[in-house]
């Protein structure tokens, strides 16, 4: 009975469509969900003498509204936005530390200079001398605390990186499992829409943590790669990321892919510059570039303060009639040999011209003949056949014998601001005179005048600090702008995605009525068929 089956096919199709609509309505707020639609097709007609008589409708498939291109756009922009927002949020905290206010490093520096100016006019006044000591301690404490807060932030970022890595690993695992399920679903000849949506959502979340690219396989699974080409998921197998420590700098936590070899030589580590997109890139760029820059800037300032004031102070005489001692003390500049070195070489670094030093770390690579000294801040390189050598106001010396391929990391000023201390706390030890006389203020005048001198790359201390705040401000603002642009782009991509894949409840309401009516009509067809059939039966009675 054709009529019944035509009606039944209509019922089934309408039912499937209502089902799809209900599914859409249920998932209106499900992240990553793409609206689904029952694709109906009319069944080929049956030939009769009067031509082809339609046989009703069939549901061909359930299709999700989806665009590969837009989806890729969403993942890319969200990845970029996550990176920019991670880096910018972290940098904003640094920005606050450099606020130009009454309690910042700049104000502490001003106080030290002004206390010196005032004390220089009354060298025998113990209260004025005491003020110099306390403001000097204020300056060193302020620098110590600022770097302490930067370090604290660095530790928090390291924790954040660990959390990000564990999230990446979890997502990679889920994607691997979904790959499996999708391959299985794909085997039925139909497309497992909801699994695809889930995997896309996992990929979007993964992209928020780290920028990845994908390669579709014929079985429907996706292989996932980091931007440097390292595989993160192959089929159903994730390759977990792990945390290790930088062989060149034992303080630095690295993220990498562990090799299976026991020596660890095959380990691949990710650098901030090799990553693109995702919170991980933002965190690593902040930690390895912005934080290091900030510490080196303050370290350079502290190093120059100590060098300039000490040089004058040791030329004077204190109230005990003795030659002045160091007004400030600094920790020694740090030089690490790489843990992969095979030679016995040990490098040390000392500041020789404080006004010429740069706020940067350095790397020394020995190729068997020459030492290439690279300023890490900007990559500028000096090649020398032998050490000691003087670069940027630093004297770099070597003990022992390095082997070709050995490398060293220098941090000439990075820890200076953290370790800056007053050399003494006894006000009488201030060497204000150049003779034993208590009223001799010649050296105090020289100390007070340092504030006016160009002591750091052609700038006074006040100007140099101003420049540091400008740098921090420029970087922070740049990151904020980049974060805001990326956020807008990702919002736009989401809007595009929503216009293609998003569920609109009004549309679904209309569809519900449409399919409900179709269902009712098909039911009517069956009722009509029943009536016709009954008529036939009644005729036979």
């Amino acid at each position: 009975m054709t009529l019944l089956s035509v009606g039944a096919s209509g019922l089934a199709a309408a039912y499937a469509a209502i089902n799809a609509t209900s599914h859409n309505i249920s998932n209106v707020n499900t992240p990553g969900y793409s609206k689904q639609q029952a694709v109906q097709t009319n069944m080929p007609g049956q030939f009769s003498g009067a031509g082809f008589i339609g046989r009703g409708v069939a549901v061909e498939t359930i299709r999700r509204a989806y665009s590969d291109q837009i989806n890729a756009q969403v993942q890319f922009t969200q990845s970029q936005s996550a990176e920019a927002s991670a880096q910018s949020t972290l940098m904003k905290a640094v920005d606050k530390l450099f606020a130009v206010d009454d309690i910042g490093v700049g104000a502490a520096m001003d106080q030290f200079f002004t206390s010196l100016t005032e004390a220089s006019s009354r060298p025998a006044d113990m209260a004025a001398r005491g003020a110099v000591i306390s403001s000097g301690q204020g300056l060193s404490t302020r620098l110590n605390q600022t770097v302490g807060l930067l370090d604290e932030q660095g530790r928090n970022v390291d924790l954040g990186i660990r959390a990000t890595v564990s999230q990446i690993n979890t997502l990679a695992q889920k994607i691997g499992r979904l790959n499996d399920a999708i391959a299985l679903g794909q085997g039925t000849g139909q497309i497992p829409n909801d699994l695809l949506d889930q995997r896309d959502e996992m990929l979007r979340q993964l992209n928020e943590q780290v920028g990845v690219s994908t390669l579709a396989q014929s079985d429907g699974s996706l292989n996932v790669f980091l931007s440097s080409g390292i595989a993160l998921v192959m089929g159903n197998t994730p390759a977990p990321l792990s945390i290790s420590f930088d062989p060149a700098d034992p303080q630095r936590q690295l993220v990498g892919v562990r090799s299976t070899s026991a020596s660890g030589n095959g380990d691949i580590t990710l650098s901030a510059s090799s990553l693109s997109g995702g919170a991980l890139a933002g965190q690593m760029k902040f930690r390895d570039i912005n934080l290091v820059d900030a510490k080196n800037e303050l370290g350079r300032l502290a190093t120059a303060i100590a060098a300039q004031f000490n040089a004058v102070h040791v030329g004077g005489t204190n109230m005990y009639g003795a030659t002045g001692t160091s007004l400030f003390t600094l920790p020694s500049p740090v030089a690490y040999p790489s843990s992969l070195n095979t030679g016995s070489g040990a490098v040390s670094v000392a500041v020789s011209t404080s006004s010429a030093i740069k706020p940067s770390d350095y790397r020394i690579d020995f190729d068997g003949t020459n030492y290439a000294i690279t300023r890490l801040q900007d990559g500028s390189q000096t090649v020398t056949a032998g050490l000691p050598a003087t670069v940027d106001g630093l004297t770099i010396s070597l003990a022992g014998t390095p082997n070709p391929g050995d490398s060293f990391q220098l941090q000439p000023v990075r820890n200076a601001a953290a370790g800056l201390q007053m050399g003494f706390t006894d006000p009488k030890l201030l060497a204000f005179g150049q003779s034993n006389a208590v009223g001799d203020n010649r050296n105090a005048l020289l100390l007070a005048q340092i504030a006016d001198q160009t002591v750091l790359g052609g700038l006074t201390f006040a100007q140099a600090f101003g420049e540091i705040t400008a740098k921090v401000g420029t970087v922070t603002q740049g990151l904020e702008i980049s974060a805001s642009i990326n956020d807008k782009l990702s919002q736009q991509a989401l809007a595009d995605q929503s216009s293609v894949s998003g569920v609109n409840l009004d549309e679904e309401a209309a569809n519900l009525i449409r399919y409900q009516q179709a269902y009712q009509a098909s039911a009517k067809v069956i009722a009509a068929a029943q009536t016709i059939f009954q008529t036939l039966l009644d005729m036979g009675r």
Binding site: A99, S120, A437, T469, T474, N504
Partner: protein
Amino acid sequence: MRIGTSFAHLSGSALMMDAQAKMYATQNELSSGKKVSSPSSDPVNVSQISTARSAIAMQASFTANQSFLEGELRHLESTLGAVGDVISNAQQQLISAGNGTFNNADRASVATNLSSLRTQLVALANTRSADGQYLFSGFSSNTTPFFQSGTSISYGGDNGTRGVIVASGLAIQSNSDGQSLFMQVPKGNGSFATSVAATNTGNGKIDTGTVVNPAALTGQNYELQFTGSSTIQVVNTSTNSVMLWQTYVPGQAITFDGLQVVVSGTPAIGDRFTIAQGQTASVFDALDQAIAALNTPVVTDADRAKVNDAVRQVSATMEQAANIALTKRSEVGGRMNMLDSAAAVGANQQFQSMTLLSRLQDVDYAEAASRFATQQTAVQAALAAYGQTAKMSLFDYLR
């Protein structure tokens, strides 16, 4: 274009958040009064803000130093004025001692007056500033500069000149050198000093002398010797050579080697008058010399001549000392002028820095308030629009 319902809600609330964030940023500016809260608020100007704050802090310390220095210089000036007054009193006493009618007792009374002036002068020379440091002891500011050592006053200070920074790169001296003021006063007319030899028996006297040709001065010492009743022999005692013989005419000028002296009275044969160049004396020793001479009873004409000569010599020294005190006082006045102009320039710079700082970091309340009003409207509009659109649904109409 289709709109996903969920996305519409999310983006609607994102817009509200955004509008609110902007409004709260402005509210923050309004309540703190600062438009620059951290370097990123204005990276272009933050460096200027920082250096302007430093300049203001430095200028405040210069201002503190200026008022300190002003106090020191005022104290120094009034002390130098008092020193000048004491010296001028001593000069008057010395002039009165030259009175021909004075007897020994009169002279002794002048000596007593001089002695009290000397005490005052020592006290002035040992003046301390407000913070207990001696004014005239150089760098050794906690060492009593002038103290009695045996029969005379010794100097325990040094020549240190203490500078006070009153402006960037400008230090003005706050103290004055006590040694040149009290201890190294040039004797005589400032170039050379004449005296009557203690062994003279005649009543011949010599004047303080004048320099007639500064270029011809030798810096050497001479002696006028009366070899005969009317012959003066000029001997250069530095080279031990006889310069010239001259017939003695009382009151006639004797000129040689760029200098000129007048001898008058009646010297006895063998009497000598000395001319010494470049000699200095302590103002206290000079007074001691006058006191001793005035306390010595006059019996003979020669005695009178010696007392008068001592008074004349000390008067000359006191005149030099008065000049030095005056010079130093006007020098202090010059420093005060310098200080005044430094203070004026500093105050002007301070004003400029503060204006700059205010322009760079302070909120323009009118602008910020109107911005706040605009943002408030935007938030209200966003809330109203969301409220209207969010509650629209086709389901409401399907009954």
